[in-house]
C-alpha cells in the first residue's frame, strides 16, 4: 500500500515537473492579487500592516482554489482515473497521495513565497514566521477540503465557478484561524492557540476528507 502511495506521489510530481508553467501560474496569481491591494486601498503603511494578514491569507486561499481543477481533470480525461478506481489498493489512500502531491506543487510554493509578500505589507518578523507556520498547516487543509469540491464537479459544465461555490464556504474556518494567528502575532500576542486549532483542523481533514473524495470520484466515473 505504501509502495503504491509512493508511486502515485512520484508520478504526479513527475507530471507536474514536466509542465512547470502550471506551477508558476498559481504562484504568479498569488503575487498579482496581493499586489493589487495596495492599489485598491492606497499605499498607506499603517493600513497595509493592518490588512496584510487577511489579504495574504485570502489570496493564498484563492490561489490554491484556482489550482483545484487540475487535481483530477487530466486523469479523468485520459482514463487514468478509471484505472485507479480498479486498483486493489483502497481508493482513499491513492486519493490521499494525489492530494499530497498536488499540495507539494501548488501549496508549498505559496508558503515559501509568502514571507517575501509579507515584507511588502511591512509585517514584523514574528508575524512573518507565524504566517509561514499558519500557511504550512492551512494550505494542506485547503487542498484536502478542496479535493472534495474538485472530485464532485469532475466533468460537470461550468465546473470552475461551481467548485468555488462548493469549496469556499468550507474554507472559512481555515481562513479565520490562519488569518487570526497572523493577526495575533502582529499584535504581539501569542498565536499558538490559533495554530493548534489549525493543526487540529488539518488532522481532522487528513483523516476524513479522502473518503468523500473517493466516493465522489466513483460517482463521477460510474
Amino acid at each position: 500500500m505504501l509502495t503504491t502511495l509512493r508511486l502515485i506521489i512520484h508520478r504526479d510530481l513527475l507530471l507536474a515537473l514536466r509542465r512547470r508553467a502550471d506551477i508558476a501560474n498559481t504562484l504568479v496569481f498569488f503575487v498579482i492579487v496581493t499586489s493589487l491591494f495596495p492599489f485598491g486601498v492606497g499605499p498607506e503603511a499603517n493600513l497595509l500592516r493592518a490588512v496584510g494578514p487577511g489579504v495574504l491569507w485570502v489570496a493564498a486561499l484563492l490561489a490554491s482554489m484556482l489550482a483545484l481543477s487540475r487535481m483530477f481533470a487530466a486523469d479523468y480525461a485520459d482514463g487514468t482515473l478509471e484505472q485507479l478506481l480498479l486498483a486493489p489498493e483502497p481508493l482513499a489512500v491513492l486519493v490521499a497521495g494525489k492530494i499530497f502531491a498536488h499540495w507539494l506543487v501548488t501549496g508549498l510554493p505559496l508558503v515559501l513565497i509568502a514571507p517575501l509578500l509579507a515584507l511588502q505589507f511591512g509585517m514584523p518578523v514574528d508575524a512573518m514566521i507565524t504566517l509561514v507556520a499558519s500557511l504550512l498547516l492551512g494550505t494542506p487543509a485547503l487542498s484536502l477540503i478542496g479535493a472534495i469540491g474538485a472530485a464532485l464537479t469532475l466533468g460537470v459544465r461550468g465546473s470552475g465557478v461551481l467548485t468555488a461555490l462548493l469549496v469556499l464556504p468550507l474554507y472559512i474556518p481555515v481562513l479565520i484561524l490562519g488569518a487570526g494567528a497572523v493577526d495575533a502575532a502582529a499584535a504581539g500576542m501569542d498565536a499558538s492557540a490559533h495554530l493548534m486549532l489549525l493543526g487540529a483542523l488539518l488532522t481532522f481533514a487528513a483523516a476524513f476528507a479522502p473518503w468523500p473524495v473517493a466516493a465522489a470520484l466513483r460517482i463521477a466515473v460510474e
Binding site: I148, V156, E222
Partner: protein, 244 residues
Amino acid sequence: MNWFKYSSPQSFFPLAGALVPWFGFAAALLAAAGLYIGFFVAPTDATQGESYRIIFIHVPAAWMSMFIYLVMAFWGAMALAFNTRLSGMMASALAPTGALFTFVALWTGALWGRPTWGTYWVWDARLTSELILLFLYFGFMALHAAIDDPRRADKAAAVLALVGVVNIPIIYFSVKWWNTLHQGASVSLTKAPTMAATMFAGMMIMALAFWMYSIAAALARTRCIILERERSSEWVIEYARNLK
C-alpha cells in the same frame, strides 16, 4: 404493512398527494394560533419592549434551517447507501425549503438586531456559521442543477450534504463555545426555559407550524420531481391523460 412499498416513486406519489393538504392545513392552523399568542397573549418584554416579538418567527426558522439540513443529509445518506431513487428526490425537495428558512432566520435576525444591538449585522460566530449554512444550501442546489444525469446529481449532492453536516454542531454550539454578541439558548431539553410560559408556548406552536409547512412543501415538491423524472413511464403518462 410493508413500508418499503412507499419507497417506489409510483406508490409514494398518491400517498404524498393525500398527505399534503393535511400538513398544509395543520400548518395554517398552528401558525394562526402561534401568531395570535405571539402578538396578543404573550407579555411585553421587560428590556426589549415589543421588538422581541420577532422571536416567534426567528427562533423556529433558525431551528428549522438546521433541522432540515440534517434531514436532507439523512436522505442523502439513504440515497448513497441504498441507491433508492426516492431518497435523492426527497433530499433535493428539502433543499429550497431549508434555504428559505435559513434566509428567514438571517433576515429576521437582522431586523431584530437593529433595535436591540444597534446594527443589522455583526461578524459573530453564530451569524457567520448560519450564513455558511445558507451557502451550503446554495452549493447543494447549484451542484444538483449543474449535473444533467439526475441519479449522478443526487449522489454527488448527497456527498456534499454529508460533508456540510460538520457545520451544524458548529452553529448550534457557537454561542456556547465563543463569547459572542448573540445570546445563548433560552430553551433546552434539560432545564426549564428562561422565559415566560406564554412566550415559550407561542414559540413552540410556531415551531410546529413551520415543521408542518416544511413537510407539506417538501412533499408537494417531491411530487413535482417525481412527475418530472418519471415523465416517460407508463403511469405518469396515464396520470397526465386523466388530468385533462
